[in-house]
């Protein structure tokens, strides 16, 4: 390596460090806050690595039975909204791609632009009239506003790239359209479905705005529950940071382990609903 190349390498590593450190330092600080007792969290200058580690912050959060309820709520809402979106959205993406009905994507675009709160006003009234408030059903339904467009959008893009020849051969052999979809198109589309699934799960899990309006005391999802902790525990940062980290940990793990799918999905443009 020439001196010029060495300088270039050092410059590159310096640039990488500058770019990545805001993310790394933030999450390390979050971890640090969550592992400290109040004395350490309230000290100035701040303590980065505490002398005594407060595992208690985590066990307290996990031991509270409310937290378990909210965790189960989150699982039910995100799970149902994602599975329903896949059941509805994968065939729809297939149909739209095969009919080349690109204009129908305008609806997805409108859904993408519309602020989540606009859906909430009319749907809130609907749920009230139907007497559904107080159950998890309204949240499952409204999370479809997030998950369905993501799944349809990604599946349209994916089915447009899968080869038609096999499907046409199957049709000539006398298979019905449903059989072709079920046994030919669907197996090929598995990677696309994985992308749609992961993104739908993440954006549904993270959703906050629908919950603050629709969730009652018993029907909160985790993001809403964590937000509600702020007002009660204004000054105990340790347990609060621990709860925040627990809520977002599944998503962070997904991000690291399914990075390839997430990047593929996000660059397809179907980012974030609501």
């Amino acid at each position: 390596m020439s001196p010029k190349q060495i300088i270039g390498r050092i410059g590159l590593w310096f640039a990488v460090l500058v770019i990545v450190s805001p993310a790394i330092l933030f999450f390390l600080w979050m971890l640090s806050l969550s592992l400290k007792f109040e004395i350490d969290n309230a000290s100035y200058p701040p303590v980065f690595i505490p002398e005594h580690v407060a595992w208690k912050n985590y066990t307290d959060v996990l031991a509270s039975n409310r937290f378990l309820t909210y965790f189960v709520n989150s699982l039910i809402v995100t799970g149902s909204a994602t599975v329903l979106a896949l059941v509805i959205g994968v065939p729809a993406g297939y149909g739209i791609a095969r009919m080349a009905a690109h204009k129908s994507a305008i609806v997805i675009l409108i859904a993408r632009i519309t602020p989540g709160l606009s859906y909430l006003i009319p749907l809130f009234l609907m749920f009230q009239w139907l007497g559904l408030l107080g159950t998890l059903v309204p949240q499952i339904i409204i999370h479809l506003v997030v998950t369905v467009p993501i799944v349809i959008w990604i599946m349209i893009g994916y089915f447009e790239t899968t080869p038609m020849e096999l499907e046409e051969a199957a049709l000539i052999d006398g298979a019905t359209r449903w059989q072709v979809f079920r046994h030919v198109a669907l197996p090929i589309a598995k990677p696309g479905i994985a992308v749609a699934f992961i993104l739908a799960v993440i954006f549904s899990w993270n959703n906050f705005v629908f919950g603050i309006v629709l969730a009652g005391r018993e029907t909160r999802t985790l993001p809403v529950a964590v937000y509600n902790m702020i007002s009660f525990d204004q000054l105990s940062w340790g347990p609060l940071a621990a709860a925040a980290l627990i809520v977002t940990l599944p998503v962070l793990l997904l991000t690291v382990f399914a990075q390839r799918q997430i990047v593929a999905g996000l660059t397809a443009g179907a980012v974030k609903g609501g």
């Binding site: 640039a15 770019i19 990545v20 993310a23 790394i24 933030f26 600080w29 806050l33 969290n41 701040p46 509805i88 065939p91 729809a92 297939y94 149909g95 739209i96 095969r98 009919m99 080349a100 009905a101 129908s104 609806v107 519309t114 602020p115 989540g116 709160l117 606009s118 909430l120 006003i121 009319p122 809130f124 506003v145 369905v148 447009e160 790239t161 020849e165 046409e168 049709l171 359209r177 449903w178 993270n206 906050f208 705005v209 603050i212 309006v213 964590v226 937000y227 702020i230 940071a241 925040a244 980290l245 977002t248 997904l254 991000t255 690291v256 990075q259 997430i262 990047v263 443009g269 980012v271």
Partner: protein, 312 residues
Amino acid sequence: MSTLIQSTPAAAQSDAAPEKELRPPSYWPFVVPALVVVLAIIIFPWVFTIWMSLNEWKVGSATTFVGFSNYLRLTSDPRFIEAIGHTLVYTVLSVLLPLVFGTFAAVVFHQKFAGRGFLRGVFIMPMMATPVAIALVWTMMFHPQLGVLNYLLSLVGIPPQLWVFHPATVIPSLVLVETWQWTPLVMLIVLGGLAAIPTEPYESAQIDGASLWQVFRFITLPLIMPFLFIAGMIRMIDAVKSFDIIFAITQGGPGSASETINLYLYSVAFIYYDLGYGSAIAVVFFLLIVLLAAVMLYARQRMLWTEIASDA
């Protein structure tokens, strides 16, 4: 485009008759369930919102048709007009800063270095993490006495700031969070653009002895412009609608210094339960987003025209 590519070999192989038989509109059954859901949760709410916006509609009292008076009320609502201002400032900053940093990050991640895949994963964590959880930690970091940010400032000799606790600094502080969160998205989109650039212009630039900045300014930047535009558009749509971060950190405060349209819409609809007026805000809000998108498209067209004109 893909249908063109797909249909050519089929048409070449078979006669016209079976080809026609293969394309009846029988894909409809696949779309119907989604159509029903989209009608119920996207189209219907929209139509109903427009109807509600023409009514005096408060939770717990009778509704009356009032025509456009909700919209007229908006024009003389100082809180709404102020919210438009906050939204525009917040949006412009939250588009430009991630575009600048994201482009820089993309150029860096386009290079080859050890651990690139893993570090890219770390880099995109802020935008995937649960916004409320993130907001909570940022709130602690912004704390004027105990927050780590003021400590970091003190290390380089800058006096402590009030961050989100002062009207003058609250929006820039929130933009800081938004930029931290969404720079990765710009990076990913631009990175996709960089991957598509041919290597020849770079080789000739190297032979001509161009500096790094010249290479970026005159080769890379023009070629990634379409991707920057898409990134800017997505960023604009998300920044205008930003809710979680602002709501969880400031709830629009102090006072109403960081109250954007979306935050005001929330207060009107779900704190005052004035659903008719809230619906009118939702409609105007949507139109504003469409307008901003149209302005961006127009600006992009103008840029293309001047480029063509200067080339000629």
